[in-house]
């Protein structure tokens, strides 16, 4: 279900709003998590919720590479397509 880039992106924006009260208008694929003031403890929450949604774990190596919102879309798409 979550293979479509746009759907993943929309879900991510919703999560960012629900979990961190981030205004979706602030978010673009190029936005970095640093700009959104999401620290490592927040990232853990985000990963847990993504895991619930896609039913797959994000491998720690992929997780460390993530800098922007677009990176997450990329990783989630790859994992769900596998």
């Amino acid at each position: 279900m979550m293979t479509d880039r746009d759907a993943i992106y929309a879900t991510l924006r919703r999560l960012l709003r629900e979990l961190f009260e981030i205004d979706p208008a602030q978010v673009t694929p190029e936005t970095t998590f640093q700009e959104l003031d999401i620290d490592s403890i927040d990232a853990v929450d985000l990963v847990v919720h993504l895991h619930d949604l896609i039913g797959k774990r994000i491998p720690p190596d992929d997780f460390r590479q993530i800098r922007t919102v677009g990176d997450v879309v990329e990783v989630v798409q790859r994992l769900t397509a596998e």
Binding site: D39, I41, V47
Partner: protein, 245 residues
């Protein structure tokens, strides 16, 4: 004279660490079952730090005041503090009972420091995914968890920017937070200061223990943890900014 006393103190610190962690601890830890060895190491550590703080006072390295000491009594609480100096942790370890500290990973590789970190079961903050469960487990066992939400030494007067882990851990554990405020006038062993830069005036060091914060009284318990942690962190940042002002 005070220069000599100060440098001698650092020497005492180093020799003391050698004595405690390479002699006394290995010679005595075997009497305790492995499960309680970290707690034993923490008792030993507290005694050593108390001695050191008292040594610094008696030899005139600093004037020292502890305000609100009774508020430090208790277990299973999250102790947060600002972090102007290397000596902050010396002070907290001397006065907080059964203290587990969240430490910067690089410290585990520092000679004389890495070994006590391992013996006492302090928690390395290298990965948030392992930090959270380790911190929650320590609190459940009744240890007090010390965190410096600024993450590293920060010059006094800079705007307060806190990492959110302290708030997040307290919320998830249902633990209260005890804020501690550290003041050095003038500062020694701050960021960018070297051990041989001894201030011209004898530093007045004040440790002020603030009133306990019960997160559920400050933050709506219905909020998702991630949002609640943000709000509680802002609450703490305001508390420290107001104190600084």
């Amino acid at each position: 004279m005070r220069f000599a006393a100060t440098v001698l103190s650092y020497l005492v610190y180093g020799l003391g660490a050698l004595l405690v962690w390479w002699l006394i601890y290995p010679a005595t830890a075997w009497r305790h079952p492995p499960a309680v060895r970290p707690a034993y190491a923490r008792r030993l550590s507290r005694r050593a730090f108390r001695f050191f703080v008292e040594w610094m006072r008696r030899t005139g390295v600093w004037d020292f005041h502890l305000e609100g000491a009774q508020r430090l009594r208790g277990r299973g609480r999250v102790i947060v503090a600002n972090h102007p100096s290397f000596l902050d942790i010396v002070l907290l370890f001397a006065f907080v009972e059964d203290a587990v500290c969240v430490v910067k990973p690089s410290l585990a590789r520092v000679p004389l420091v890495g070994r006590p970190i391992r013996c006492c079961g302090h928690i390395r903050a290298d990965d948030s995914q392992t930090l959270l469960p380790a911190a929650l487990a320590a609190l459940r066992q009744g240890a007090n968890l010390i965190l410096f939400p600024q993450g590293t030494r920060t010059p006094p007067g800079e705007p307060c920017r806190f990492h959110r882990s302290a708030a997040r851990i307290a919320l998830e554990a249902g633990a209260s937070i005890v804020p501690v405020f550290l003041r050095y006038r003038p500062l020694l062993l701050g960021k960018g200061q070297s051990w041989h830069q001894v201030p011209e005036h004898r530093p007045a060091v004040t440790v002020t223990v603030g009133a306990e914060i019960e997160p559920e009284k400050v933050i709506d318990a219905e909020l998702p943890l991630s949002v609640a942690a943000r709000r509680l962190t802002r609450h703490l940042e305001r508390l420290y900014s107001d104190w600084q002002a």
